[in-house]
Amino acid sequence: MKRKLLALLLAMSMVVGAFAGCSGDSGKSSSTADTSTSSTTDESGDTASDADTSSDAEAGNTSDANIPELTSDPLTIVLWDISTEDPHKSMMEGAVARFTEAYPNITVEQLHQQNDNYKQQLIVAMSSGQCPDMYMHWGGGPMNEYYESGFVNDLTEMYNTYDHPDFIEAAIAQASYNDMILAIPYGGLSGCDFFYNKSIFAEVGVEVPETIEELEAVCDKLLEAGYTPFSLANSPGWTGSMYYMYLVARHSGNDEFNAAYTQEGSFTSDAFIYAGEKIQDWVQKGYFVEGVNSLSPDDSQDLALMYDGTCAMMLHGSWVTSNMQTDNAEWYSENIGVFRFPEDSEAAAAGVPQDVEVGTAIGNGLSFNCWNDDGSVDQTKLDAGYVLATQYINDDIYNQQQIDRITIPSIEGFDTAVEDPNMQVVAEVFFNASNVQLWYDQYLPANVTEVHKDCMNALYALEITPEEIGQKHDAAMQEYLNG
C-alpha cells in the first residue's frame, strides 16, 4: 500500500513538475536570458556607453526647443528594449547618457531584453504589475492590445503640442490606433524588396522585371540555366507571407485587405485567391527552393542559398542588406542589386495603385506606461519619457549611427542620406509609396497572426487551398471582432 502511495505521489509530483515548469518558465527566462541592466546617471554616464557623449551641442539641441519642462526632483524611469548587442546597445545607451547628462536628476534604468522572449517577458511584467515606464514594441496588433489593457499613454496631445522629429506619415500611422498616437517610432524603417544576384542575372541574360509576367519569364530562364529563382526560409511563416502580401497588394492595392480586416469584405476575395494560386503555381514550377518550411531565417539559411549561388533572388526586409554586408561586404557590393516587387499589369490597367509598399515604417515604437496610483497620468514621468524618446533617441547622433549601419530613420529627409546604392533604391521606393502595409503578422490581431503563419506554411507545402486559407483567416478575424 505504502509503495502504491509512494508511486502515486511520485507520479503526481512529476506531473506537477510540468506545471511548475510552466509557471517557472517566465522566471527562468528572465534570469537566464541574456539580459543586462545598465543604470545610467550622470556619474555613470561615461561608462554606460561607448557612443560619443561629448558632442552635446549636436545632441538634442533642447535649449530653444518647444519641449515640456522636466522636473528638477529625482526621478527614475525604467526602460525596456531589445538592444542586447552592439551597435544597437551603444546607440541606445548613448542616447540615454546624453539625456541624463542634460537632466542629472533623472535616472534611466535600462533593461536590454533578449528579442526571442521579449513579448512573453512583457506580458508577464504587465500581468504582475511590473510593466516598465517605457518599452519598445513593433506596433500593430500587440500595441493595440497593450493600449486596450491600460499599459499605454495616449501621446496625441503631447505630439501635437511639443517638438518631435518630422516622422514620415506612414510611421505615425503605424504608431497609431483609433486616431490616437501611442508610440514614438525609432530604430528605422524596413522596406520589403527583391534582393537579386546581379552576376547570375547577367550570366543568364535577364533584366530586372517590371511586371509579374516578366518576373515569371525571368524565373523560367533561371530555371533553364540551373538556378533556383527564389531563396526562402519559411519555417516561421512570416517570410513566405511577404510574397502573399505583395501579390495581394499588387492585385488590389490596400482595398481588399482593409475590407477583409473589418470583415466587410473577406479573405476569400479575388486578390487573396490570386495570391494563393500564384504562389502554389510557382511552387509547382520549382521557383522556390525545395523544403522551404524546414529552413529558418534566424539561422540565415535563406542567405546561405544566395551566397552559394543556388538561388538568384530573395524577397526580404531591407535589414538583410546589413546582414549581407556583415557576412561578406565585398561579395555583397559586387553581386547584390535590388528591385521593387513587380507590377500586376492587368490590375494596373484597371487603375489599382501599384506603389503600395510592404514593410515597417514604425520600425520599433516606444510606448509609455506612466500612471499615478489613482489611475491618472503621471505627467512628470511621461514628460521625461517623451523628451528622451523624441530629443535624444532620434537625435542627430542617433540618426547618424543608424545611417552608418545602413538603416534609414523613419524621418523625412533621410531618403537620400544613405550611401549604400541598394538602400538608396529601398529608400526611394519606400518614401514614394502611396501606402505602407505593415507585415500581416504584426498588423493582424494576435489570434489571426497565428492562423496566418500556419497557413503560410501549408500554402508552400501545397497542403491547403487558397480558399481554405481565406476561410481560416475569416473565421479567426470574426472570432476577434466578436470578442
Binding site: R3, K4, A7, L8, L10, A11, M12, S13, M14, V15, V16, G17, A18, F19, A20, G21, C22, S23, G24, K119, Q120, I123, M126, S127, P142, E145, Y146, E148, S149, G150, N234, S235, P236, G237, V289, E290, G291, V292, N293, S294, L295, S296, D299, Q301, A304, L305, D308, T310, A446, N447, T449, E450, K453, D454, C455, N457, A458, A461, E463, I464
Partner: protein
C-alpha cells in the same frame, strides 16, 4: 565519557544505540517524540512552503484563471464560467495536439527504453573495455534542448544538411530530403530527435539497475550452471522489471508535457504538424493574448496527464510482484 554519551542524545534529541538500549521513562519518550516532531517540521517546512508557492498555488490559480476571459495583462477579468472548458472539449486543435502527444508518448516508450536497455546491456556485458562508449553515448543527454534544436535544424536542412547531403551522394544528384518542413514526417523526425536526446538517460538508468544486482546472484547462477544468455534473460532482465516500469512512467509523463525541443526545432509547425499540448498552451497564453483559454488548456493537460499516469500506474505498477 559514558556519562557524556548518555546525556548528549537527550539534549540534542538524537537517538543513539546507548540510549535505545537503556530503559526509558515515559517522560523521556515524550520529549523524544516531541523533538522528533519539531525536527521534522523544521526540515519539511521549507520544502512544503516552496511546493505550495511554486506548485500547488500555480495549479490552483491555473484552474481559477481557466474560468475567466482574460488576455493575460488587463486588469479586467471577465468571469465566463465553464465556457472555456466547453470550447476545450470541442477544440479540434487541442485534440490534434493531444493526439500528437500520444504518438510521441508511444514512440518514445517504444524507442527510447528498449534502445537504452540494449545499450546498457552491451555496456554492462563488456565492462570497462567500452567505457569510452558510455561517455560518448551519454553526450546527447548533457546538451541543452535549445542546442540540440539548433544542431538538428542544420543537420536536417534541405539546403546542405547532413541528411540531404547523404541522399545526394547516394542518388548521384542534388536531393532535398525535407524531414522537418512537411507533414506528417515532421512529427516523426522530432520523435527521432527526442529519442536521440533521451535514450542516454535510460541507458544510464539501466546501467544503474544492472549495477544494483548483487554479484552473489550472478555467482550463484554461474555455480548452478547458467549460461550468460540464461543469466541475462532469466535473471538480470526480470530483476530490472521495476526499473522498466519507472522508466516507462517517466517517459510517459515526459512525453505528455514535452515542450522545449519542439518549441525550438519547429515551433509546433509546419502548419501545426508538430503542435503539442504544451506548445499550443504557450501560443494561446503568450502569443495570442488568450491567457484564460491558455490556462484552461494547461488545466486540461494537468487532468489528462494525471489521469493517464494514474491509469498506467494502476495497470502496471499495482501488479508488481517483485
Amino acid at each position: 565519557m559514558t556519562n557524556n554519551t548518555a546525556v548528549c542524545p537527550r539534549l540534542t534529541g538524537r537517538p543513539s544505540g546507548k540510549v535505545m538500549g537503556m530503559k526509558e521513562t515515559n517522560g523521556l519518550a515524550k520529549v523524544r517524540a516531541r523533538s522528533t516532531a519539531i525536527a521534522a517540521t523544521v526540515f519539511l517546512l521549507p520544502t512544503v512552503l516552496l511546493m505550495i508557492v511554486y506548485m500547488v498555488y500555480p495549479i490552483i490559480d491555473t484552474f481559477i484563471i481557466s474560468v475567466y476571459k482574460w488576455n493575460g495583462i488587463s486588469s479586467d477579468r471577465i468571469f465566463i464560467g465553464l465556457q472555456n472548458w466547453q470550447t476545450l472539449v470541442t477544440d479540434s486543435q487541442f485534440w490534434t495536439a493531444f493526439s500528437h502527444n500520444v504518438i510521441v508518448m508511444v514512440c518514445s516508450i517504444v524507442l527510447q527504453i528498449p534502445i537504452g536497455m540494449l545499450l546498457a546491456t552491451f555496456l554492462d556485458a563488456t565492462g570497462k573495455k567500452t567505457n569510452l562508449f558510455k561517455v560518448v553515448w551519454f553526450f546527447p543527454y548533457l546538451m541543452s534542448s535549445v542546442a540540440i534544436a539548433f544542431l538538428f535544424t542544420y543537420a536536417l536542412a534541405t539546403n546542405g544538411g547532413m541528411v540531404s547531403a547523404l541522399a545526394s551522394i547516394f542518388t548521384g544528384k542534388k536531393t532535398a530530403v525535407d524531414l522537418l518542413g512537411s507533414n506528417p514526417q515532421a512529427l516523426y523526425t522530432v520523435i527521432g530527435v527526442m529519442a536521440w536526446q533521451f535514450t542516454p538517460f535510460y541507458m544510464v538508468y539501466f546501467i544503474a539497475g544492472y549495477g544494483n544486482i548483487d554479484t552473489s546472484i550472478y555467482e550463484a547462477a554461474v555455480i548452478d550452471g547458467a549460461t550468460r544468455k540464461q543469466y541475462l534473460f532469466k535473471i538480470a532482465i526480470p530483476l530490472l522489471k521495476p526499473i522498466f516500469k519507472t522508466a516507462c512512467t517517466m517517459s510517459l509523463i515526459g512525453s505528455l508535457k514535452y515542450f522545449d525541443l519542439i518549441w525550438n526545432l519547429t515551433g509546433g509547425g509546419p502548419n501545426g504538424g508538430t503542435e503539442l499540448m504544451a506548445t499550443y498552451m504557450y501560443k494561446l497564453s503568450f502569443n495570442q493574448f488568450n491567457m484564460g483559454y491558455g490556462s484552461c488548456v494547461a488545466a486540461g493537460m494537468f487532468i489528462l496527464i494525471t489521469a493517464i499516469a494514474l491509469l498506467f500506474q494502476k495497470i502496471f505498477v499495482v501488479k508488481e510482484d517483485y
